[in-house]
């Protein structure tokens, strides 16, 4: 169980974040994500076992951070639309509220622990009546039918559910790099040269843009396009090199990306 593991410092991603922010005075905009991941993985190493649940939950939190961080780092911050700015603040406030709530219950749990420790020093009597009252003892089997016994047996032999990684937070959208490559292989020979912004102009979903970018990198890897970026954060110039579109798509291993 992921939840049985803990260090004195933290147990989960929120704890980690709390710890990083409160103890280490970390500004999430200052600290690099790889640093967070590294220190996290270092802790995981200490535990000598990968706790998949914790790790995936951590990735969930981390991705929120990446998004916040990415917005900060992206150019043209002054051009950010008011809605985006508001959304950014909203996310920040939401995260703050969650961290505060998390901290509240961490603190109260510590008090409950000491209450429980005190209570553990006493032992309740639950002996029941002696044999003089045996005839009056309630019948524990009252109302129990053979079928109840049967279902209790099945319940007993059924192994407790094995923890599985829950994918509820993963949307069902499946962006396929191979498909994107097919599209590009159709489109690029016709236009010859195009900028990445224009290429992705009609795309609404950010994920689609990313997949197109990955497909483009794949084509670059295969020597079918030339890419050029004149300035940091600038537009990317795409030049079609291959004469023939007969290159087999999917000849190499191409990953699917689930969004």
């Amino acid at each position: 169980m992921a939840y049985d593991v803990s260090t004195p410092v933290f147990e989960g991603p929120f704890d980690l974040l709390l710890h990083l922010i409160l103890k280490e005075q970390v500004d999430i905009y200052e600290v690099s994500l790889s640093t967070i991941v590294n220190s996290y993985l270092a802790e995981i190493d200490l535990l000598q076992s990968i706790e998949l649940d914790l790790a995936t939950e951590f990735l969930l939190i981390a991705s929120t951070l990446v998004e916040l961080k990415a917005r900060r780092l992206l150019p043209g911050r002054n051009d950010i639309e008011l809605d985006d700015e508001l959304a950014l603040w909203e996310e920040r406030d939401l995260l703050l509220a969650r961290l505060l709530e998390c901290k509240t219950f961490k603190d109260v749990a510590a008090v409950l622990a000491s209450i429980a420790d005190d209570a553990d020093l006493t032992f309740a009597r639950s002996v029941g009546a002696d044999e003089r009252f045996e005839a009056l003892m309630p019948d524990m089997l009252e109302g129990i039918k053979p079928r109840h016994l049967h279902s209790a047996y099945l319940r007993a032999i059924t192994p407790k559910p094995v923890p599985v990684v829950d994918l509820f937070h993963v949307s069902a959208v499946r962006a396929n790099v191979a498909d994107a490559m097919t599209e590009l292989l159709d489109e690029l020979p016709r236009v010859g040269r195009i900028s990445f912004r224009r290429l992705t102009d009609g795309l609404v979903e950010r994920l689609d843009v990313i997949v197109r970018f990955l497909a483009l990198l794949e084509l670059f890897k295969q020597g079918m396009v030339e890419l050029d970026q004149t300035e940091r954060f600038g537009d990317i110039d795409i030049l079609w090199l291959a004469d023939s579109a007969a290159v087999a798509v999917g000849a190499g291993p191409i990953d699917d990306y689930e969004g």
Partner: protein
């Protein structure tokens, strides 16, 4: 306690005070006797108390008698008595009518889920050792087995011939009677309800069946509807 008037009965119950001030020992020894006997499910032999408290048996015996006197003198509703070679608390005979009324008053004494599961395992897998029950349920069944045994639903039926000679448990005729069964073969057969072989195998291995549709799996699982008393 403002409305409890001071009485003329000035007979002080100072025996407890005296006991606790026994010059030859730690005051906690007397109190420890009270604490241990309070939670003991069986009468506690004087020897055992003496050993636990690291005191001479004769002294412990004397202290127990002293405590018994203290309770009697103070007029408590309980007594400390020596039965079957051990000490236990029991209610004063004069109060039996109240105790009986309480016991008849529908105590919430329903069988816990854990107790029922243990009983079911013993019923279906008898004769079975404590360790085997533990390995199925994943927890130490000691307390539950003791309770079930005290109620006369299970009993030791044999001794494991192997090394260790573990006690093997089985159900009693009283158990069958309570369930309205003529014999153990009248228990609902397991096979008729057991889910498909693939699912069983997956479950037996403690693994999730990777390609089994969860919905199908669920449909084959025994359903525990809320009206079943074991479902708490």
């Amino acid at each position: 306690m403002s409305d409890i008037p001071p009485t003329d009965a000035q007979q002080p119950d100072q025996m407890m005070t005296e006991l606790l001030a026994h010059e030859t020992l730690d005051a906690d020894i007397v109190r420890a006797i009270e604490a241990i006997v309070l939670v003991a499910t069986e009468p506690v032999p004087t020897d055992q108390l003496a050993q636990l408290l690291e005191q001479p048996t004769a002294l412990v015996n004397e202290l127990c008698r002293g405590l018994a006197d203290v309770y009697d003198e103070a007029g408590h509703g309980f007594q400390l008595v020596e039965v079957a070679g051990g000490w236990r608390y029991q209610t004063h005979p004069e109060l039996s009518p109240y105790v009986e009324r309480f016991l008849l008053d529908g105590q919430r004494h329903r069988m816990s889920g854990a107790a029922l599961e243990t009983l079911a395992i013993v019923a279906y897998k008898q004769p079975i050792s404590r360790a085997q029950v533990a390995s199925i349920r994943g927890v130490d069944p000691d307390g539950v087995l003791r309770t079930l045994s005290a109620r006369g639903y299970v009993t030791q039926v044999a001794v494991d011939p192997g090394p260790g000679q573990a006690a093997l448990f089985g159900t009693t005729p009283q158990f069958l009677e309570k369930l309205g069964l003529n014999s153990l073969s009248d228990l609902p057969p397991l096979a008729a309800f057991v889910p498909g072989a693939d699912v069983v195998e997956a479950l037996e291995h403690g693994l999730r069946a990777p390609d089994a549709d969860p919905k199908l799996l669920r449909a084959n699982m025994p359903r525990l509807t809320p009206d079943e008393p074991d479902d708490q």
